[in-house]
């Protein structure tokens, strides 16, 4: 395996990590705001707060990690994506900023402030949309080169059905992932009502998820035939992913093994995410940028990988400690030990 592939694998894995933890986070914010609106706040808020509080900052770091990493391994992405993404990514930053800070203001400052919760919930719904634009752009067809500089064709982007399908998919995925996770978490917390409610949401969002996901594969056939052909070569990964999806829904339907259901869900998304990533190979931005012509020099690549391994040596035990203390700690989850 060459360094380019290793580099993109590492980054793609981190992006996957971000997709999962951020989905739980975005979705939780939305469900929290929705429960306020629907008068079901007493059921959900405690569970959501207890999960989010110790991890909200960590979630954000996953994203920082990804974009610093991609500029490090593939400096040319800074030139291409940096130039064209000014507006969509600035909007995403804005939303992230509102989310992050208002979460802290709400949780540590004035508990139960409705305005904050709504902002938090709404921004969580817009964020996946603004971030998933990048995925659409990477498919090609929206960027042309003018005087040696890339320019983004906003009109083509916003009128493309592919854009909107990916937006809808990302929102459905966020809500589905989050609902499944929170079902499990609420169940662990022995909070029956919350688990039931989240179970309902999980089942509700499973259908739109799978419909949009399949729809996108069809749309790619028209938009980017080369990519579509690559996708077909990996059909078995998608089939496997679909089977895992069925497994998750079945377990949740039967109210059994919520933990295992979340595991299947992680597998389902991992398979689909990596199949999508592999089929995109070798392009970072179709057809302008491949992972080969944008890769950093060898000295930097090796030092980044060394730093990465050393960093993981520190991170994995710390993350494990975090999970043990909060996610898998009975007393904490059930609220027996309260902060402050």
């Amino acid at each position: 395996m060459n360094l380019e592939i290793l580099g993109i694998m590492v980054l793609w894995t981190f992006l996957f990590g971000y997709v999962i933890v951020a989905s739980v986070d975005f979705g939780a914010g939305f469900f929290n705001a929705y429960s306020l609106y629907a008068g079901k706040q007493h059921i959900l808020t405690n569970i959501i707060q207890r999960y989010l509080s110790p991890v909200w900052e960590v979630t954000n770091v996953f994203l920082v990690f990804f974009f610093v990493g991609i500029v490090g391994f593939f400096p040319k992405t800074a030139f291409y994506y940096g130039t064209i993404l000014l507006v969509p990514v600035s909007i995403a930053i804005l939303l992230l900023a509102i989310r992050g800070s208002y979460y802290a203001f709400e949780t540590y400052g004035s508990r139960g402030h409705k305005g904050y919760s709504f902002m938090y919930g709404l921004s969580g719904l817009f964020l996946p949309a603004s971030l998933s634009i990048v995925l659409t752009i990477s498919e090609g067809g929206f960027v042309f080169i003018e005087n040696g500089k890339p320019v983004l064709d906003y009109w083509a982007l916003f009128t493309s059905p592919l854009t909107w399908s990916i937006v809808v998919l990302s929102i459905a995925a966020v809500l589905y992932i989050s609902a499944v996770f929170l079902t499990w978490y609420a169940h662990k917390a022995k909070d029956k009502d919350a688990a039931e409610l989240m179970r309902k949401y999980a089942l509700t969002w499973s259908l739109p998820l799978i419909i949009t996901a399949s729809g996108i594969i069809v749309e790619l056939r028209a938009h980017n035939p080369e990519h579509f052909a690559n996708l077909l070569n990996l059909w078995w990964m998608f089939v496997l992913s679909f089977l895992l999806f069925i497994g998750t829904v079945w377990l949740i339907w039967k109210r059994k093994h919520y933990g295992r259901a979340f595991g299947l869900l992680a597998g389902q998304f991992a398979l689909a995410f990596f199949a999508y990533g592999i089929s995109h190979y070798p392009y970072l931005l179709y057809p302008h940028l491949t992972i080969y012509d944008s890769f950093t020099n060898e000295a930097m690549a090796i030092s980044l990988i060394v730093a990465f391994i050393a960093g993981l040596g520190l991170l994995i035990p710390s993350l494990y400690l975090l999970l043990r203390l909060f996610l898998f700690n009975k007393d904490y989850v059930t609220g027996k030990s309260d902060p402050y």
Partner: protein, 448 residues
Amino acid sequence: MFNGDSLFYSRLLTELTLSFHIIYATIGVGVPLMIMIAQWVGIRKNDEHYILLARRWTRGFVITVAVGVVTGTAIGLQLSLLWPNFMELAGNVIALPLFMETFAFFFEAIFLGIYLYTWDRFKDQRKHLMLLIPVAAGAAFSAVFITIVNAFMNAPQGFDIVNGELVNINPLIAMFNPAMPTKVAHVVASAFMTSAFVLASIAGFRLLKGSDHIYHKKALYLTMKIGLIFSIATAVIGDFSGKYLADYQPEKLAAAEWHFETSGDAPLVLFGKLDNGEVKYAIEIPKALSILAYSDPSAEVIGLDQFKEDEIPPLYIHYLFDIMVSIGVWMTLLSLVFWLGSKRSWALIQTKWFRWLIVLGGPLSILAIEMGWWLAEVGRQPWVLRGLMKTSDAATSSNHVDTMLILFAGLYIILAIGSVVVLSRMFRNNPVERELEERHAEKGGVVR
């Protein structure tokens, strides 16, 4: 096609984001150390006041961290969004410290989460102290790594340019560039100093506002003492920075000092005003610039005459330099007087007006941080990578920077108001007297 508007707005937006971010970032770097020290003193002296001090600081700290994290994410992305050409080039050489910074940040984020939510889970306070070490270390190291990136922009090295291509890249040599030691040390020391004075100004404010609790007095004494130590360290390192500039970036030093002609026995120009190329109303200290630059009163210091017209930084950085240094000296003296005064129980330091000076010290220190960064950044204009890439060649070609500037300005106003309101409400609604009573009541002890 050259887009002058994009360049202007990109510079403005970067300056705005960074100026806003460093307020929270400086607190984010310094306060964990203060919390750690308070917790440690509390354990060693078995004094509950210090433990409570650590707790209350942490609670406020969370709010500043949140704003620091989101504005830090903003500047991290804006580097690529506003300066794509720069990042493409620099990414080849300097990605390593950038990457390491996120690790330090990751580390801090994890342990801060753990620290915050395990207040009462560990009976042993020493265990809790152990959690603070990675928080403080992560905070300091993220400052170290990101400052290394900035140092590289001032003194790029660790690569060769052959036919316009970067070759022989060595990331470690790029990291350990000549600007790095003084820059990193100055940033870290001044962050500790500023955080100490900010916390001191809070304690001073409570004392002024009528609370006469021993808790605030302990807080004030502790923070002023730490502030004194780090303000002296900052000044000493500042002197080293001057020597670095004389050797490696003489145009920055010359512009900051209005040193136009290369000469020996160079005087240091304090304050004053520049009027059509004439320096007026300035205080000149003979030979001081030569001493600052080379520790030798007669050493020759390179002046602006040695540089091309279009490679000289704006001369207004002199004002920034003066304000930064004046505040630094002032804060050192103030904390020294306070420390001596508390040792020898002078009545002076108990007076109202002296306490007002302490209250003023926090905002002043933050102002000095801003001035210092503006000096450092504007002082390397017109370069983004000194001697290598001009700022005007690095900016984005996108036409939407002005709109983004307005958006972000709005965001920062909201964040500033939000954080101030939340912080002040948090502490006003829960004064320390009440919290102490509650804690005693919980433990069944005697209410003070």
